[in-house]
């Protein structure tokens, strides 16, 4: 009886419908996490009166960052499950991450009135903030390397494959950057967002590796249909 219940739960968790619901939940929590780290959503008036220069670009940058994290998790899932659209998702991750970086760069430029050189080449000089910036910046570089290695995978397949497999360091770096100065991770919505992302990635990896492991653990039944 207990085994049957466990099997039922395992099937439910691995079902395509569950994955879809989880991803809808992720999008909702993304907006909630965004709202938790900014007080007021940007208005239509992009250069609102009284708002310090660059504030709306900062808010937009936050949204781009959270979207990039969400897409990154879906990209990891699509990689695990060898799904179509991996290249499109990867390009979207790159686009969102660049949007995050450039809009923050522009926001700081507007705020300071001059080019923020420290954002072009951040370095952890005895400061927590700079350390967090450096980690994010290195993740962006790795993401660019990964995009190039994905696009040029036919040129030098073995080298590109190895380069593309640094994704784990990139994801860890991005999440670490977010946890250090993102601010949203400590909020309830932010925690739900990151937990749902981890759950999503864990489920995908589970589906990928469940089949080989199922001969040792019969409860791990591979899925017939999945969705990302």
């Amino acid at each position: 009886m207990k085994d049957a219940l466990l099997m039922k739960n395992a099937r439910m968790i691995k079902s395509a419908l569950f994955m879809q619901r989880l991803q809808i939940f992720l999008v909702i929590v993304l907006f909630m996490a965004w709202a938790a780290c900014i007080y007021q959503l940007p208005g239509i008036d992009w250069h609102s009166i009284g708002l310090p220069a660059g504030q709306n670009y900062y808010r937009f940058s936050k949204f781009a960052a959270l979207t990039a994290i969400l897409l990154m998790s879906l990209q990891v899932c699509s990689g695990f499950l060898k799904k179509r659209g991996h290249a499109v998702l990867g390009s979207s991750v790159l686009l969102c991450t660049l949007t995050h970086y450039l809009s923050f760069f522009y926001a700081v430029n507007l705020r300071q009135g001059h080019l923020p050189n420290f954002l072009l080449w951040p370095w952890p000089v005895n400061e927590y903030y700079n350390g967090a910036l450096t980690i994010g910046w290195l993740s962006l570089l790795m993401l660019i390397v990964m995009a190039i290695s994905g696009a040029c995978r036919h040129l030098w397949p073995r080298i590109m494959r190895v380069l593309h497999h640094t994704w784990l360091a990139m994801v860890v770096g991005a999440i670490l950057h977010s946890a250090m100065i993102g601010g949203e991770m400590q909020s309830l919505a932010g925690r739900c967002f990151y937990l749902a992302i981890l759950l999503n990635m864990m489920l995908a990896s589970f589906q990928r590796y469940a089949k080989p492991l199922s001969k040792y653990f019969p409860i791990l039944i591979p899925l017939r249909a999945t969705s990302v």
């Binding site: 780290c37 007080y39 009166i49 009284g50 708002l51 310090p52 504030q55 705020r111 601010g183 400590q186």
Partner: protein, 326 residues
């Protein structure tokens, strides 16, 4: 329309027409001023709303905020066409520009002149101006932090105007009872959500004058531990609770900051929305701006009391302190 049978099309066209027409007809002239609301500014707001353009909307923005010509007509804003000069108050400039025929408005203009431009030289208008100043002081004194509802000022000037119209002396109005509740009115609420941007030199002067300035450091605890403004409290947006908001209400100014004031401004806005009327950020922005003036910072090697003493000394001699930095 042949070949086009989408049933929602008519509804879409109708909705678009309504949206466009409502936008076109509801466009009223916007007047913008800073939130340093002195008697001259209140009188000017009353003049605009009651005698120049009844449909006008008044927008009050934080002191120091840049106002672009396309935003509306700026008054009592530095650099605007209507800005107090050595010879004219803002109210008088508005009168000169719009030329209303009413002589009583000119009389109120002479009071404003006596109050704002020529307070040391006695004229015929001086006694009336002083009486008006007393009425305004009395009105402000009855509200916390001198934030009387804007409707009260409008009522006051209306009462004065009626007295003038009926040839009565304004001295007959000895006490002005405003009927509006002390809770924030909608207009004041919209004004209070705005965040002031105070120059650091001005903040130091306030500290020297004994005002209670509370600095709220919005950065992460790790960043706070590295360095912060002496006496600052570490409070992130996610940790904002009603108890903490209540404790901040005792302060004369609550200045939120982070590294470059992106997070700091969000916090300042949140505090303003939660009823802290004197919520501000500093200029130049953030800890970067503070450090650019080489003002004292509490480092891990220093005790909080020492750092605070250093900051107090700097505030007492702010001119020298800032000069040394420049």
């Amino acid at each position: 329309m042949p070949g086009f049978n989408w049933p929602g099309f008519n509804w879409l066209v109708a909705a678009l027409c309504i949206a466009l027409s409502s936008n076109a007809f509801s466009k009223s002239q916007q007047y913008i001023t800073w939130d340093t609301l002195e008697p001259d500014t209140w009188a000017s707001i009353w003049l605009i709303k009651h005698h120049i353009d009844r449909d006008a909307s008044i927008r009050i923005v934080p002191t120091g905020a840049a106002v672009k010509p396309q935003d509306g007509i700026a008054f009592a804003v530095f650099g605007a066409a209507f800005y107090r000069s050595r010879t004219q108050s803002v109210y008088e400039q508005l009168l000169d520009h719009y030329q209303p025929k009413d002589p009583h408005l000119l009389t109120i203009g002479s009071w404003m002149h006596a109050l704002e431009i020529n307070p040391w030289q006695a004229t015929d208008a001086t006694p009336h101006a002083e009486h008006l100043a007393d009425l305004i002081r009395d009105l402000q004194g009855r509200y916390p932090q001198h934030r009387a509802p804007p409707e009260c000022y409008a009522d006051l000037f209306d009462r004065l105007y009626r007295l003038l119209s009926t040839n009565q002396s304004i001295e007959t109005l000895t006490q002005f009872d405003c009927q509006y509740p002390s809770s924030l009115s909608p207009a004041q609420r919209s004004a209070s959500v705005l965040v002031s941007q105070l120059p650091i030199a001005y903040l130091l002067n306030l500290m020297a004058a004994g005002q209670r300035i509370v600095f709220v450091d919005v950065r992460e605890p790790e960043e706070f531990a590295e360095k912060h403004i002496a006496g600052a409290m570490n409070l992130t947006l996610r940790d904002l609770t009603p108890e903490k908001i209540q404790s901040l209400k005792q302060a004369d100014w609550v200045v939120s900051y982070c590294k470059k004031d992106f997070r700091g401004y969000e916090m300042a806005q949140a505090l303003a929305h939660h009823g802290i009327v004197n919520s501000a950020v500093m200029l130049p922005y953030g800890l970067v701006g503070w450090q650019s003036l080489q003002l004292p910072i509490k480092s891990p090697q220093q005790s909080e009391a020492d750092a605070l003493q250093q900051l107090q000394n700097c505030a007492q001699n702010s001119a020298d302190c800032l000069k040394a930095a420049s």
